[in-house]
Structure formats: structure tokens, C-alpha cells
């Protein structure tokens, strides 16, 4: 007992020293004096860990690219928010009060952001979200909260516009799940997008989540002879709907909502998924120099790029641009003012600007299932 007590304190000290050392290695960037210190709160553990790992790779690649001679000097401290609100708040407090960072990137999840961002708003530290997609409750926390990730409501209209340019459809048949908040909200966005594009809706049908048979709805929709089928459904229903539509002889295009953006959809729908189009915020095939630079950096790091690493990379590029806009000054207010001047910036996501509400504004892309994989539509 007494032995244990005698050893407890030194052991605890040793452990905390090791922990500190570990944290020290988390900052990947060159720490050569001067320049801006940015904090990044990412979900490196917990349920969102796979996103966090991609984001860390994107940020590290961007810091190397930005810190070229003649560029802006940036140091990024990366901390793990463990996919939770609680640890997200702790990380934000550390960034704001101890590290005295100029700006914060993250956190990975909208859920964490809703709890941690108000701390930064209160301390007047600019936050740039790189993956939060909740339509409300992020940038409306306050004027110091910005984001470079498109909301779901932003992706669908842009994706439909692009799909229309590509396919030239004039009429649509719509099928949506009317007993689920996500699919119903998706339908509302789709309906508005279609009417804004002047697409005539020839028929609208509904289903419920437990339904297995969509033949009646599909027959009615296909019978109206629309140019395109538009479907708002979760991945499981989506796979069945697409399979049954193909069995009913539908060979035309099918436009999906965000529920389709799941590998499970392609796996379950099999060959029927071929040709299905869905919106996405990153165009992996873009030949823009900014995207090519990003792809090269990710290849060098040995990481497969995806939407999350592209958005995180873009976050660092945007902050560097904000510092440049404010004449190289790296104070919190300088970066806040600089972010307001970012316009038509070349990024891997395309030409990037902020909306008046500090949300992201850039052209989303459309991907189509080809040979069993999502591929970008040029």
C-alpha cells in the first residue's frame, strides 16, 4: 500500500511527461520562429477517426505546400477531439488560452462544432470548419465561424444543374421517402432545385422506410415518360428502388440525393447502380493546377485523397490566403478580416469564395457510378 503510494507520484509524472512528449510530436509543421500558429481540432480517435486521419493528411500536405520560400509561414498544431463534444471543448480551450493560436481549423463533426465553436466566438478567435455539413447551427453561431464545406442543401442544386447541362433533361419523375426527416428534407431541396432549373415534374410518388415493393410507384412514374428519375432515399431503400426501376425497364438516368453517397449503395444495387448520378463537393478529376498540386502532395505522402482531405487541405490554403490578404499580419483580428476578403481563390475544390453568411461557395461536382465505382462526371 505504502509502496504503491510512494511510486504513484513519480509514475504519474513520468506518464504525463510522456503524454506531453507525444503531444509535442503531434505538431507536424516546421516550427522555425515567426509565422502564424493555427490549431486543428480533428477526430483522430472515436467514431469519426477515419475522417480525422484523412483531414490530418490533407492539413500536413497543405502546410508543406504553403510554407514554400516566399509564401506565408504557418504552423499547425493538431489535437484529437476524440469525436466528442467534451474533448472538443477542452482542445478549443487549450488552443485559445494556452497556445494562443491565431485561428482554429475544425472540429471534424458538426456535433462537436455546435459545442466548441461558441468558445472561439466568445474569445474572438476565427474558426474555419472543414467538414461540418449541418445546414444550421454552425456558421450562425457567430461572425468568427467560417466553413469551406458545402452543406447538403448546397450540393443538390449544384449537382442537378450540372447533371442537367450534361443530360439535357426537361422533365422528371420524383420518388421520395416521406417518413424520414433526412429523405423528406432532401426531397424539399430537390423539388426547389428542379423548379429553379425549369424542369417539369411529371409525377411525384412516396414510400415509407419499411417498404420493399416500389413497383407500383415506379410503374406510375415511368409511365409518365420523364427524362430522368429523381430519388431521395437512404442507402438501403435506394439500392432496392434502383434495382426495381431497372427491372421495370427504366434505362434512363437516375439522380440521387446524399443518401446514395455510400459504398453500401453500389454494393447492394450491383449492376443496376450503373449510371446513377449523385452530387459531391470535391472533383477528383479536376485538372485545375490547385487540384493537381493537391493530388501530387497526397501521392507524395502516400495517402489516398478523398473529399475530407481535399476540404482540410483547402482550409489551410484559405487561411494562408487570409494572412496574405491582411498583409502578412497573423493576429486573430487580421485573419478574421482577411477571411472576409477571400474571393475566387484557386483551391482543390475549385474557385472558392465565402457567402455573406461565411458558408462555402464553390461549384459542387457530380459523380456517376461506372464499372461499380463512383466516378466524376466531366
Amino acid at each position: 500500500m505504502s509502496l504503491a503510494r510512494r511510486w504513484t507520484l513519480p509514475l504519474a509524472l513520468l506518464l504525463s511527461a510522456a503524454a506531453c512528449k507525444d503531444k509535442g510530436t503531434q505538431s507536424p509543421a516546421a516550427s522555425g520562429g515567426g509565422g502564424a500558429v493555427i490549431g486543428a481540432s480533428l477526430s483522430l480517435t472515436g467514431p469519426a477517426a477515419s475522417y480525422g486521419a484523412q483531414q490530418r493528411a490533407g492539413i500536413q500536405a497543405a502546410v508543406d505546400d504553403v510554407n514554400q520560400p516566399g509564401g506565408v509561414k504557418l504552423t499547425v498544431l493538431i489535437e484529437d477531439d476524440a469525436s466528442t463534444k467534451e474533448q472538443g471543448i477542452t482542445v478549443f480551450q487549450k488552443f485559445i488560452n494556452r497556445d494562443k493560436v491565431s485561428a482554429i481549423i475544425g472540429p471534424t463533426l458538426s456535433n462537436t462544432a455546435s459545442a466548441a465553436d461558441p468558445l472561439a466566438q466568445q474569445a474572438k478567435v476565427p474558426v474555419l470548419a472543414v467538414s461540418n455539413t449541418a445546414a444550421t447551427g454552425i456558421t450562425d453561431i457567430g461572425n468568427y465561424i467560417w466553413r469551406d464545406s458545402l452543406t447538403e442543401a448546397q450540393v443538390i442544386p449544384g449537382a442537378f444543374k450540372k447533371a442537367k447541362e450534361k443530360l439535357g433533361f426537361k422533365s422528371a419523375g420524383v420518388l421520395y421517402g416521406n417518413d424520414d426527416v433526412f429523405t423528406k428534407a432532401g426531397y424539399d431541396v430537390m423539388q426547389k432545385a428542379l423548379s429553379d432549373l425549369g424542369v417539369k415534374v411529371l409525377g411525384t410518388q412516396t414510400f415509407a422506410k419499411p417498404d420493399r415493393d416500389y413497383n407500383a410507384q415506379l410503374t406510375a412514374l415511368i409511365g409518365a415518360k420523364p427524362d430522368v428519375l429523381v430519388v431521395s432515399a437512404l442507402a438501403d431503400n435506394a439500392a432496392s428502388i434502383v434495382s426495381q426501376a431497372r427491372q421495370r425497364g427504366w434505362t434512363g438516368p437516375i439522380l440521387g440525393g446524399n443518401g446514395f453517397n455510400s459504398p453500401a449503395f453500389i454494393k447492394n444495387a450491383g449492376a443496376a447502380a450503373e449510371g446513377v448520378m449523385v452530387g459531391t463537393s470535391w472533383n477528383s478529376l479536376s485538372q485545375d493546377p490547385a487540384n493537381q498540386k493537391f493530388l501530387a502532395a497526397m501521392k507524395k505522402a502516400g495517402t489516398n485523397p478523398d473529399q475530407f482531405s481535399a476540404q482540410a487541405y483547402t482550409g489551410v490554403v484559405i487561411l494562408a490566403e487570409a494572412i496574405r490578404q491582411s498583409g502578412g499580419k497573423t493576429g486573430r483580428e487580421d485573419i478574421e478580416a482577411g477571411l472576409g476578403k477571400v474571393k475566387d481563390l484557386e483551391t482543390p475544390l475549385g474557385k472558392f469564395s465565402f457567402t455573406p453568411n461565411r458558408d462555402a461557395q464553390h461549384e459542387p461536382s457530380v459523380q456517376q457510378v461506372k464499372d461499380g465505382k463512383f466516378q466524376i462526371v466531366q
Partner: protein
Amino acid sequence: MGQQVLNGIFLGSIYALFAVGYTLVFGVLDILNLAHAAVFTLSAFIALALVDAGLSLWLALPAAVAAAGVIGIVLERIAFRPLRGRADSNISGLISSLAMATVFEAIALQIFGPDISRFPPDTFPDRVIRIGGATASLLQFCIVGISVVLMAVLTLLLARTRLGRQIRAVAESPRAARILGVDVNRAIAVAFFLSSALGGAAGVLFGLAFNSISPDVGRSVELKGLAVIILGGMGSVPGAVVAGFLLGLIEVFTVANLGSSFRDAVSFAVLFLVLVARPRGLFGQAATREA
């Protein structure tokens, strides 16, 4: 229009096949077997497991149907026979079958998990057949064909064979049947075997048709089956067949013309109206026979 009729016949054939087994047990025992939908689910899963194990569908289908029949016999031994002869056996049998349904569903959940399972894509040749302006897959034709054949076999079996006569005798009066030398327990067990085998066949065909099987898949036919046997006349096999197709067609035309939100409302409104006009259902036996 033609296409929707096909859709309705297709859906109706599965409802009818499911309900025929349901109504058979009711006709024999005057008891609702609420585990019928759970047998439907288990059978679909058994067929899926056999196909996944590399068996051809044409072997997996009869094997799963036979397994469902055996499950029916087990069900009768555990949930119904111990209660038989008690004063309130109708209600207690209903409750014990509900308990068995919960057990079966839990077994499916334990083995196959809560997610939707699917048959491998090449289980059935993917061929589309055109009739006039309408299309139907080869699978849909086979499903309607198998359903009709199974229902015809059951009808013949009940009408023409010794076994069928025994089952009908027990349905009429177990006591009289026993006096005439019929092994009542055996006849009831056979009725359960047939009933569950047909329910199981409906489960496999449903799983193939819509290719998404989950432990709660039986719920989507449970209430429909009940509506069908009430509409057709409790205990009437031809009534269940007719009512099954009728319900399938009503559902399809409601969804197509009014929207899917109205589907169950219209189906049950029709059921209500039929019962107001004919309280014993379309093919219900006259009330005088019980006297």
C-alpha cells in the same frame, strides 16, 4: 395500366400464398397462428443461408420450404398442443403463438443481424419479358407460377386425398373425427406442416422478389395476411386466394393513383365495406352450419 395489373397480380400472388397457410390453420383449429409471419421470415433466411453456402436456388427453395414445414410441426407441439382441450385454448393459443413469433424473430436477429441481407446478384437469371407494353422479369413469372401451383396442389390435396378429408373432418368437428377413427393430433400436425411450408414458400419468394431480407420482414405481410383471410372468409382457402390477388391489385392501384400514403387506408376501407355487406367475408361459410 397493363403494367400495374401485372404488378398487382405479382404482389397478390405472394399475399395469397402467405394467407392460404394462415387460413388453413384457422379453418382447422379456429386459432390464429400469429407466428406465421415469423416462419415466413425464418424460411427466407434459411434459403438465403443455403444459397450463400453455394447451393443452387432450385435446391435451396424446396429445402427451405421443407424446413419451414418442420418449424410448423415444432410450433404446433410447443405452442398449441399443450393447450389443446383447455377451456380458453383459443386465446391462450393466440398468446403462445405470439410468444413463439418473438422467439423466432430473436433467433433470426441473433444469427443474421439487424441489417438487410440480400441474395447474391446472380441467384436468379436476370431476364425481362415483354407482354404488349408491359414488362415483367422471369423471376416474377416464376413467383406467380410457383404460387399458383402450390395453391392448386393444396386445394387438390384437401379435396381429393384421404389426408385432406381427415383435415376437413377435424375442421368440422374434432370429436366427430376422432369417433370416426381419425388421428386428430396427426391431422393437426399435418395441417401445421402444410400451412408453415406454404408460408415459408411465400417468404422465400418475397425475399427473392424484393431482395431485402431483415428479421422484421414478416411484419410487412403480417397485417396484410390477416386482412386477406378476413376478406376471403376465415378458414376458406379459395377465399384467401381470391382476396390475396384482390388486395394486391387494390394496393397497387391505390399507390399509383392516390399515393403510397393512402395504400393501407384504402385497403382497410375496402375490407370494412366488404364486412359490412358480407360479415363472413367473400367466401365465408353460412352461419347456420355451426348450429
